[in-house]
Amino acid sequence: MEDSDGLKPSERKVLEALEKLGKKGATASEWQKAAASANVARRTFYRAKSELDRKKLVFQENDRFFVKGVIGAKEVPRHQMAPASEEVAPSGTEAAPGSIEDLRDLYDEEEGEE
């Protein structure tokens, strides 16, 4: 059931978890850990995250997520924002280059650990 803000309890918890992480925002995994601390299961988190994104209550800049309208949140120039879902073609498989670079870095780090 949704509350007066149109949010399900799990979405509310997930949104609050991101709010608590403050103006620096969080990566998806940091956000998920914060939500887990509020007893939100991993799968529930990802469903709620998608819904919050769809409802435009959060936004993503590169790898970090931010709550829209948080006081003190970093102002991001529009040209630096990740495109909103409606700005992206519905089909196709191209990823933002920055995201792939981050993933490549993760692989490089893990290779160094081996």
């Binding site: 990566t27 998806a28 995994s29 998920q32 799968r43 990802y46 469903r47 995250k49 998608s50 819904e51 790898d63 879902s85 992206v88 073609a89 089909s91 196709g92 498989t93 191209e94 990823a95 933002a96 995201s99 792939i100 981050d102 993933l103 490549r104 993760l106 692989y107 893990e110």
Partner: protein, 154 residues
């Protein structure tokens, strides 16, 4: 969100999946293709529902970006797998024809798509190759049906 972007985010979030993806790339194109359903299901768990073909095209592109020298990034093998599927489907229909019908079959309509197939191969563009191959297969199947209708077997 595009499928490849969703996959990148998925892999960034899970070390287990990163290890699994890399292992598939290093094993073979066939393994990466056959395991694509696991990535599709993981994406679906996160609310991103997409068909298997799109996931397969995306894991191939990602393999080329991340592990270009790995077997999983080999276009020729991927193309061969897709051709094998298409040929198996055609063979099943072709086998049902009589010797006379086989002789009478005209595949020139399918051959019209050779240029598109070749161009996709030159560009190593898997989605374009898949589309061209689908057109080729459709024309060939229609040729099978035509020859059956003309012989009165349909």
């Amino acid at each position: 969100m595009r499928t490849k972007t969703a996959l990148v985010e998925l892999l960034k979030d899970s070390r287990d999946l990163r290890v699994f993806f890399k292992g598939c790339c290093e094993a073979s194109a066939a393994r990466l293709r056959v395991q694509s359903w696991q990535f599709r299901d993981e994406l679906a768990d996160r609310g991103y529902v997409v068909n298997l073909r799109e996931v397969q095209d995306s894991v191939f592109e990602l393999a080329r970006d991340l592990f270009p020298e790995s077997p999983g990034a080999d276009f020729v093998t991927w193309a061969g797998l897709l051709c094998g599927d298409a040929l198996a489907r055609l063979q099943e229909r072709y086998a049902s024809l009589s010797p006379e019908e086989k002789d009478a079959m005209d595949l020139s309509g399918a051959w019209c798509h050779n240029d598109a197939v070749e161009e996709a191969c030159r560009n190593e563009d898997l989605p374009a190759f898949r589309a061209a191959l689908k057109d080729y297969e459709r024309e060939a199947l229609e040729a099978v049906e035509r020859v059956r209708e003309e012989s009165g077997a349909a």
